[in-house]
Amino acid sequence: MRYEGIGYSSVMGALHTKSRLPNQDSYLVKKLKFGTLLVVSDGMGSHAHAEVGSRAVCRSVSKALQIWNENKCEDIRLLIPLLHSMWNLDIYPFAKNECGATCLFAFVSVEGKVFLGQLGDGSIYFDFGKGTEVLKDKDDDFANLTTGINNIRSFEDWILMTVDAFDKPIKLCLMTDGVSETLIENKRSAFVELIWKRISEKANVIERNNLVYRVLNQWNPVNSGDDRTLISYEKR
């Protein structure tokens, strides 16, 4: 039996507390018969129902993944249109441009296949035994000029990756931009590696989640305005 350790938490940004807005980030950690699903989503702050959009992202990835799996799909690209349709249904009766949200997901199948997907800001870090890498290096002109599930131009906006890790160790870390964009650029991998290390030392999910919560809650105040969400995953 392989070890699978997951730690996750979400902390409301100082500006939301001040403005009495809800936490507009959402996350999902779901163990399915055919694998483990991780999702983080950042509701776009300028949208009236951003939290509706980000919650819908989490539910939609989960529903779409189950249909995708029932049809024995191996191609992650076939999940994406399904996910968008599910999201459009889920947010009804709200309009798309009131519910903008990013979508970052990781699915680890019981066979050891890893499927990663990212639309919009935030980061997915991974290590399959060859060192820490990031799925998408930010190449935008300025911060927060993000594409969301509401305003996708084409499916090319998605960054997708499939890796057959088989029995190799798998480490993943998904985070919204409240975390990724406020980390010092050349220390981001070291941050993620320390999270993985400390998570692996914890005995159970409560201790792991408490650790993530403490890290997110003690963020430098000048960079704590945005909501912050992080999921750390390790299988070995």
């Binding site: 001040k18 300025f142 000048v222 945005d226």
Partner: protein
């Protein structure tokens, strides 16, 4: 084993930059009708308002580029709280095209404005028309290529000699209008509006977002209490 403060060194010690770039006409005509005095006091007032804001999400940094017969970077991009403002002096022609080139290069330079900065505010103020060569090409380059094309751009025309057509082309959204002031005494109202919009952005969840209702705001008669 876990150390209580071991995660402290990973987060940026400063908030992300929200740049404000002022492109200000200091040609000879600005010396008449107290226009230069009003412009100087308006910029001072803007800097004061930025200094008072608590930094949570964005750190407002200001650069001032002046254009007369010469183009000068009067103030390099600096946190507003650290700027020791010295008055601008009017004189010479209106070499606006060159000023746009200087601003273009500043915005493109990722060592000055990193990619994690928020979308800059760029403000163009003039009481005349550009009279350097190829200014049209420089304006077109500024508004349609590179990072400057994605900036939040506003313009102010002072008096009837200002080239409002050119200033309109500078704006980044079709619904925005050039703010026109006949009387130099109204210059501060425009700057107060820009200050309020910028502060509002710096304190919002998404500091890139400019509320669209501000595009059509009656800038000279706006209720600033409502805006904040």
């Amino acid at each position: 084993m876990e150390n209580a403060n071991e995660f402290d060194g990973f987060v940026m010690p400063e908030a992300r930059m929200l740049p404000v770039i002022l492109l200000l006409d200091v040609s000879g005509s600005m010396s008449y009708d107290a226009k230069m005095d009003e412009l100087n006091s308006s910029v001072r007032e803007m800097l004061d308002s930025f200094r008072k804001e608590q930094i949570v999400q964005a750190d407002i940094c200001v650069s001032i580029i002046t254009f007369g017969s010469e183009v000068n970077v009067h103030t390099e991009l600096t946190p507003a709280r650290d700027i020791n403002y010295t008055d601008m002096v009017a004189g010479g022609m209106t070499y606006m095209g060159r000023a746009l080139d200087v601003a273009y290069d500043m915005i493109e330079d990722k060592t000055k404005i990193p990619k994690n900065a928020y979308r800059p505010v760029v403000v163009l103020v003039s009481d005349g028309a550009p009279n350097d060569d190829h200014w049209e090409n420089k304006l077109n380059k500024f508004t349609s290529t590179g990072r400057s094309s994605k900036c939040d751009r506003w313009s102010l025309a002072i008096g009837a000699d200002a080239d409002t057509g050119m200033l309109k082309k500078f704006l980044d959204h079709p619904e925005k209008e050039v703010c026109y002031v006949e009387d130099a005494a109204d210059i501060h109202k425009f700057f107060r509006f820009i200050s309020s919009c910028t502060v509002q952005r710096s304190q919002s969840k998404n500091p890139n977002q400019v509320a669209q209702d501000l595009f059509t705001a009656d800038i000279l008669n706006i209720n600033f209490d409502g805006l904040r």
